[in-house]
């Protein structure tokens, strides 16, 4: 019986290299099910993981290779909770995860390319900036999520901003900064980010025991002494929301110093990075004028950590059309979206293009949807119709398929 299953597995592995149609793959999966049905006693003792043609058991992004392109791997629930509880996956993808009862990501070539760069990078050299770019809905955020998963598993400290435009477009609260004249604080957003940072890195921070280098004086009575752990610093920011923005700035400068000193390695991931270079925000200053993003206290630290003057780190940034506002959205190219200033700030960087699905990825995705019962209309030629209507754009495909 075991041999039989092995054969099936081998069969499905071999078949991944050949472009096969959906029906054949479904027949193969049915065959695999049948083989489990024959031996109920064995399945009762140890339920074997469902192996379909479009799935892979390699859950560590570091071990994935070209062989696993267009296959789905499952993020374990605890890791998903640790990394993405404060954001990082698109809302509709979260919904899909809830419905499908598993957090699956497809291994795609942009992510593999990025991981390849990161694995082979010399961390003693200044931090390399990778910029993900692509049209709307091609999977930039999910590529970033994939890389983040790699970072979390490989002891990177994650400095992750799930969606930077949120700060510029719909901040929870804006207040005048106490320390810097003419600047605006976003206390609640900064505190939320600190909570997110803590959730992602609490285990690693406890293990590394990173200390602050100097004393931070917040007010006459409150201060964080030199040599306090970073967790204390973060918790202070969370507890005293008024100083959250300053705490964020302090934390990031500390992290930079520590990484340069070689005490930790850092992965910076900022989604919608070009929002920092947008001409204006939706925040109003005291004289009823819209402020520009560089007048927000949160901007400077994140610009600092994406510059090249530190080592032991990688920066994964994404530029996105929808991070901009009306009138600034005609192209998805980094030079256009970042503007002159932003481009010069990042230059030199490694651009990574994220594109629509390839044929193989598309078929794999359709198979996944069929496996999860998400498509119930399977008359002949439905893939062709979906392919034509969606132009193999991931988001469009997701929207099209929902009513089927």
């Amino acid at each position: 019986m075991k041999m039989l299953r092995k054969q099936f597995v081998n069969l499905s592995r071999v078949s991944t290299h050949l472009p096969r149609n959906v029906l054949a793959s479904r027949a193969a999966s049915r065959g695999a099910e049948m083989s489990t049905n024959v031996a109920p006693a064995e399945t009762a003792t140890a339920p074997p993981p469902v192996i379909n043609e479009f799935r892979t058991g390699v859950t560590n992004p570091g071990e994935q290779s070209e062989l696993h392109v267009a296959k789905f791997y499952t993020i374990p629930i605890e890791e998903k909770k640790q990394i993405f509880s404060g954001g990082g996956l698109p809302k509709q993808y979260e919904k899909q995860i809830k419905t499908f009862t598993e957090a699956c990501l497809m291994v795609r070539s942009p992510a593999l390319e990025l991981l390849h760069y990161i694995k082979n990078a010399d961390l003693t050299k200044p931090a390399v900036r990778y910029v993900l770019y692509g049209d709307n809905g091609v999977g930039k955020t999910l590529t970033m999520a994939h890389v983040l998963h790699y970072g979390a598993l490989n002891d990177f400290l994650l400095v992750h901003v799930p969606w930077a435009p949120n700060w510029m477009k719909r901040p929870k609260e804006a207040a005048n900064s106490a320390s810097q004249e003419g600047f605006i604080d976003l206390p609640f957003d900064a505190a939320a980010w600190l909570i997110h940072f803590k959730a992602q890195n609490s285990k690693l921070l406890q293990r590394l025991q990173l200390k602050t280098s100097k004393e931070y004086v917040w007010s006459k009575r409150e201060s964080t002494p030199a040599g306090a752990t970073l967790i204390e610093l973060v918790e202070h920011g969370i507890a005293r929301i008024k100083y959250a923005s300053e705490t964020t700035a302090a934390l990031i400068s500390e992290l930079k110093q520590l990484a340069t000193a070689g005490q930790c390695k850092i992965m910076v991931a900022i989604d919608g990075y070009n929002a920092f270079f947008h001409p204006i925000t939706r925040i109003f200053s005291d004289n009823k004028q819209r402020v520009s993003p560089d007048r927000i206290t949160l901007t400077q630290p994140f610009l600092d950590i994406t510059s090249y003057d530190w080592t032991n780190g990688v920066c994964v940034l994404s530029v996105d059309k929808i991070a901009m506002t009306e009138g600034y959205m005609s192209s998805y190219m980094p030079r256009y979206l970042l503007g002159k200033e932003g481009f010069e700030h990042l230059d030199p960087f490694v651009p990574v293009h994220v594109g629509n699905y390839t044929d193989k990825e598309f078929i794999s995705y359709i198979n996944y949807y069929l496996d999860r019962h998400w498509i119930s209309k399977t008359q002949p030629g439905f893939e062709e119709q979906l392919k034509f209507l969606s132009n193999m754009n991931p988001y469009t495909l997701m929207r099209l398929v929902r009513g089927l």
């Binding site: 919904k95 419905t99 009862t101 999860r372 119930s376 439905f382 119709q385 929902r402 009513g403 089927l404």
Partner: protein
């Protein structure tokens, strides 16, 4: 929950008689929906003039006769694209609910229907009334007289009741959510619409003595 094959649904699309004010002379043929099938003999139709195809018909996987009809009933002020969005949202909600139900139960997974269109058909078939009450005046007194319904009208009433039930809601609840609940309820043979239909049948039954009053 029995699935009724909707062979009768064709009555929703094709008209029985040529319309009196139609712009087409009566010898014009209806356009054919399916690309490959339905044409029995190509020679027969080769010299017959055919009416222009309506723009709401298509041979894609997104088309369903009943869905299309419901779409038109949802539409307000000609805003068809919004109606389409609402119906798609409804179907998505139904599908999510059903898949979550499927994941919850362990046995009898076959009984959970996930095909949204089948659920929709089931719901509408279950809420179709058989009779209707019509007010008829005899001897200065108005009587509620039970009269039979045509197929088309019964489909219309079923969909109208579903929509009415869905529109009667809190401001905070969205139409697709409420409509999805109503459709799921009706597909399982319960809920407000089914109750409304049963009430109508009961009333018809209690007024059966007036049945011979009907004319027209």
């Amino acid at each position: 929950m029995g699935f009724v094959p909707y062979t009768t649904l064709s009555s929703l699309r094709t008209l029985k008689c040529c319309r009196l004010m139609s712009m087409y002379p009566p010898h014009f043929a209806e356009p054919i929906l399916k690309k490959d099938s339905e044409i029995i003999n190509k020679k027969d139709v080769s010299h017959v003039p055919i009416k222009a195809a309506p723009n709401d018909l298509s041979d894609s996987i997104f088309y369903g006769v009943l869905k299309n009809k419901l779409l038109k009933y949802i539409t307000k002020k000609g805003n068809g694209s919004l109606a389409k969005q609402l119906l798609t949202d409804t179907l998505e909600t139904i599908k999510r609910t059903q898949i979550e139900r499927l994941n919850l139960i362990n046995a009898e997974k076959e009984n959970v229907i996930i095909d949204t269109e089948r659920i929709l058909v089931n719901a509408i078939e279950n809420s179709r009334p058989l009779l209707q009450l019509s007010e008829i005046k005899r001897g200065g007194v108005k009587y509620q007289v039970p009269i039979p319904l045509t197929e088309k009208k019964s489909y219309f009433l079923a969909m109208k009741w579903l929509l009415d039930a869905a529109r009667e809601k809190d401001r905070k609840v969205h139409l697709p959510d409420k409509l999805a609940w109503e459709i799921l309820d009706a597909a399982h043979g319960q809920g407000r619409v089914i109750k409304k239909k049963d009430d109508l049948h009961r009333q018809c039954e209690s007024n059966r003595a007036y049945a011979h009053y009907r004319w027209s």
